[in-house]
């Protein structure tokens, strides 16, 4: 998965587990930043439906000078109010508005921005919508979600609440020894099987999103149009269970427990023994993990899993060739002249896993889900839009497709330009929309149909 359950420790703490991060130029000379948390939510998961952690500090960071450190951080702190603790229900009747007394477990949040060592509040007691329960409890969910979109001073728009997971991936196959169902006939242990289409493991599942839209001018500084973006979740350092109260008590400074910049970096590239450490560090320290990116273990495994299909990329791995293409895509941004004469989202020589977005590249009316690989510079790895097929893009890059850009003499394996876990993007029940907060309406608990 992009970053769902990507490291041992955070997989046990889903409330603080970031799943996906998006950053893209949006209408009105703005940038939209979306960070998803709480993976793999069953829409029918009541009576204690999913919610943000009141004891978690969620942040979206922006580096605007290429040093891998946050210059601007948007912080979200949530607060849950139980209207009537004497009942077990999430709601006692239809929830028709965000102030409806039938809603028993209300969540609000404060939004702050930290820059230059100063923190100021952008909004207080901002409302989250409830979870999408069903036609009796949340009969007009679209209006509830819409009411939770708030316009703040400075041209900022914000939303925090449940949405449909836009990320798609065939988890069941990929984590079954790197199987890709459309290429199953080429997979060594499965070669007797017929190639079939992938199965979207995140279909019909929800996440919790924090989304903020900010004027480009508020994020960039002169001479640095490309920003680096990542999200973190932090918990207070001391946490003890108070058996007397039946709850946790937290104390001490917040320390980072989860991090996400580019999709799949911690999940696929960082080795098991370093994943928790990686989650606790800022991008500025990523030089310590650079060899896991520039000599990825998966690239060497491809030819073992699919014998004869990835011989050239296996040769790079065997020779220990530094994958400077992956370094550019994931750790520095792509310098001008690599893809073409004009495109760049290079931020400098500091190796830092950040989602880099060149804010001078306008959004396109006809996005290509393969982003830059598909000739669309407004898509991943120049930022990331909800519809970008990041699994296919990164699989193809790992398989050597992008190495030709840094070494024109390299002969790309034929399979590298075809490898994917789907034959085209799967149809989503609630796909991304064209308007803020861009992710589709959360799947409804009542209508949720488990796979039979």
């Amino acid at each position: 998965m992009s970053s769902h359950r990507e490291a041992p420790e955070i997989s046990k703490d889903p409330v603080a587990d970031s799943t996906d991060l998006y950053a893209f130029v949006s209408a009105g000379n703005t940038v939209t930043l979306i960070a998803n948390y709480i993976p793999l939510q069953l829409p029918a998961g009541g009576p204690n439906f999913y919610e943000f952690g009141d004891d978690v500090l969620y942040e979206i960071h922006v580096d605007n000078n290429g040093d891998g450190r946050a210059d601007i951080s948007y912080g979200f702190r949530f607060r849950t109010t139980v209207v009537n603790p004497g009942i077990f229900l999430y709601n006692t009747g239809p929830i028709s508005s965000l102030t409806d007394p039938n809603w028993n477990r209300v969540q609000t949040y404060d939004l702050t921005v930290t820059s230059g060592g100063h923190t100021r509040t952008l909004g207080s007691n901002l409302p989250c919508p409830p979870c999408n329960i069903g036609p009796l409890s949340t009969p007009n969910y679209a209006s509830l979600a819409s009411a939770a979109v708030k316009n703040l001073a400075g041209g900022i728009t914000v939303f925090a609440g449940q949405r449909a997971d836009a990320f798609y991936v065939d988890l069941g196959a990929i984590f079954d020894l790197g199987d890709l169902r459309p290429f199953e006939n080429l997979h060594a242990p499965l070669s007797s099987l017929k190639a079939v289409n992938g199965v979207n493991a995140t279909d019909n599942l929800n996440v919790h999103s924090i989304a903020i839209q900010v004027p480009i001018s508020a994020l960039t500084v002169t001479g640095h149009p490309t920003i680096g973006v990542w999200t973190t979740a932090s918990r207070q350092k001391a946490r003890i269970y108070d058996a007397d109260l039946g709850t946790y008590i937290n104390a001490g400074p917040f320390v980072q427990v989860s991090r996400l910049g580019n999709p799949l970096v911690n999940e696929v590239l960082i080795p098991m023994g370093q994943k928790d450490l990686w989650n606790s560090l800022p991008p500025a320290g990523d030089q310590w993990f650079a060899s896991s990116v520039t000599n990825p273990a998966l690239a060497g495994l491809l030819n073992t899993l699919y014998p004869g299909s990835f011989t050239n990329v296996a040769g790079l791995a065997t020779a220990g060739t530094k994958r400077t293409d992956l370094q550019a895509i994931l750790l520095t941004g792509i310098p001008a002249g690599v893809i073409n004469k004009t495109f760049t989202n290079y931020t400098g020589s500091v190796l830092a896993d950040m989602l880099r977005l060149n804010t001078t590249i306008p959004p396109t009316a006809k996005p290509n889900m393969l982003g830059l690989l598909g000739g669309d510079p407004a898509g991943f790895p120049n930022g990331r839009r909800p519809g970008d097929d990041v699994v296919t893009i990164e699989l193809r890059a790992l398989a050597g497709l992008t190495y030709k850009y840094v070494d024109p003499t390299y002969s790309v394996d034929q399979a590298a330009s075809a490898i994917s876990d789907f034959n085209g993007a799967p149809a989503l029940g609630s796909p991304p929309t064209g308007t803020f907060p861009y992710l589709g309406m959360p799947y409804c608990g009542y209508n949720y149909a488990p796979a039979s």
């Binding site: 009141d54 004891d55 702190r77 607060r79 849950t80 109010t81 139980v82 209207v83 009537n84 603790p85 004497g86 207070q236 350092k237 001391a238 003890i240 058996a243 007397d244 109260l245 039946g246 709850t247 008590i249 937290n250 104390a251 001490g252 400074p253 917040f254």
Partner: protein
């Protein structure tokens, strides 16, 4: 935590500002039976621990923090203690305190 405060404030029937807790349930049940004996014993232990230190004066009470304080004795021998309070952390070097803690748990 904010959530606890909010829940507390909204709790109906909480005019006495006493929240339903495991301890109050146990104390309520202490009028008879083995549970009562256990709670009495626990109360006696707490009372003894409380008398081990001098009672703070009114002025000191006003300065006492209201939230939870969590201590992590990193090294009892050197007296290295981390103290967590609110969103802060301070380091203490107090061999006397760690010795007292060691005696209490020993």
């Amino acid at each position: 935590m904010p959530s606890q405060d909010e829940t507390h404030a909204a709790e109906p029937g909480s005019s006495g500002s006493r929240r339903l807790s495991r301890r109050s349930l146990l104390q309520g049940a202490a009028t008879a039976g083995a549970a009562g004996l256990a709670v009495t014993a626990m109360g006696a232990t707490q009372a003894r621990a409380a008398t081990d230190r001098p009672a703070p004066g009114d002025g000191d009470q006003a300065k006492l923090p209201s939230g939870p304080i969590v201590l992590n004795v990193r090294d009892a021998k050197s007296g290295d203690i981390e103290v967590f309070y609110g969103t802060s952390q301070v380091q203490l070097q107090d061999k006397e305190l760690t010795a007292r803690i060691a005696r209490a748990i020993g």
